[in-house]
Symmetry: C2
Subunit: 112 residues, 2 copies
DNA sequence: TCGTCATTTCGGGCATTGACGAAATATGAA
DNA sequence: TTCATATTTCGTCAATGCCCGAAATGACGA
């Protein structure tokens, strides 16, 4: 992961509606939710939400697939994993044990 | 974690310099690095960097402790952990197995 | 093909954020 | 106390992000 990609992802999540969208999709799981249903559930205007979904998609956080007339949005769990790894890369100069459980758990310490 | 706290954290990380600062501190570990040294290493103006450090601190991502004349900044690993948990909360409606390894690993699925 | 539903694109207007230098504050040493 | 180092605060400027309605596009069924 490049720094710019990480910034795109963090920027995408740094917004009330977009964060709510992503968390909604996470709760729903890989099956996906149609755009208009997301708008309905979050009480957002379809045009505004469409822009937010585009941002999330450009950041790689969600993926979109068409099912008939609808477009289903689903979360991309791998992108979260990559983001955390990037954030904690080379944690504590390689001594991951010094940083608590998450870094080693996420595999973000120095690779042996 | 509240949604607003998560947004503060994501906003803080959604910036080239601030993200570089945080990753630098992660690499350095819990010992901490003085503000001016961070500025020197990242080639940033001290006044500009001071603002960025304040943003990171307000977001709970770093902590500051004074050592003599200097102020040492260190990463707050717990905040990253909380952020990931918040992001993946109730993943896949509780069926964490459906989402890949990270959610269950991070303890972000539905609590049994 | 035609109409309809689902979604996206576009343009305008408002608010927020970021960079920088100069000056202010805080700490330790002589 | 007085000086020097370390860091923060402040004011100004430019740039970016966001919301919304109206219109355009895409896909399906009659």
């Amino acid at each position: 992961m490049k720094q710019d990609d990480a910034i795109d992802a963090f920027s995408a999540l740094a917004h009330e509606t977009r964060l709510a969208v992503f968390r909604l999709l996470v709760r729903e799981g890989p099956g996906g939710v149609p755009a208009l249903e997301i708008a309905r559930r979050l009480d957002a205007k379809p045009s505004t939400l469409s822009g937010h979904l585009a941002v999330l998609k450009r950041a790689g956080l969600v993926s979109a697939t068409r099912r008939q007339k609808e477009i289903l949005y689903a979360p991309n769990f791998g992108s979260v994993d990559a983001l955390v790894r990037f954030l904690l890369e080379d944690c504590c100069g390689g001594d991951a044990a010094a940083c608590g459980s998450l870094p080693s758990i996420a595999g973000a310490g120095a690779e042996p």
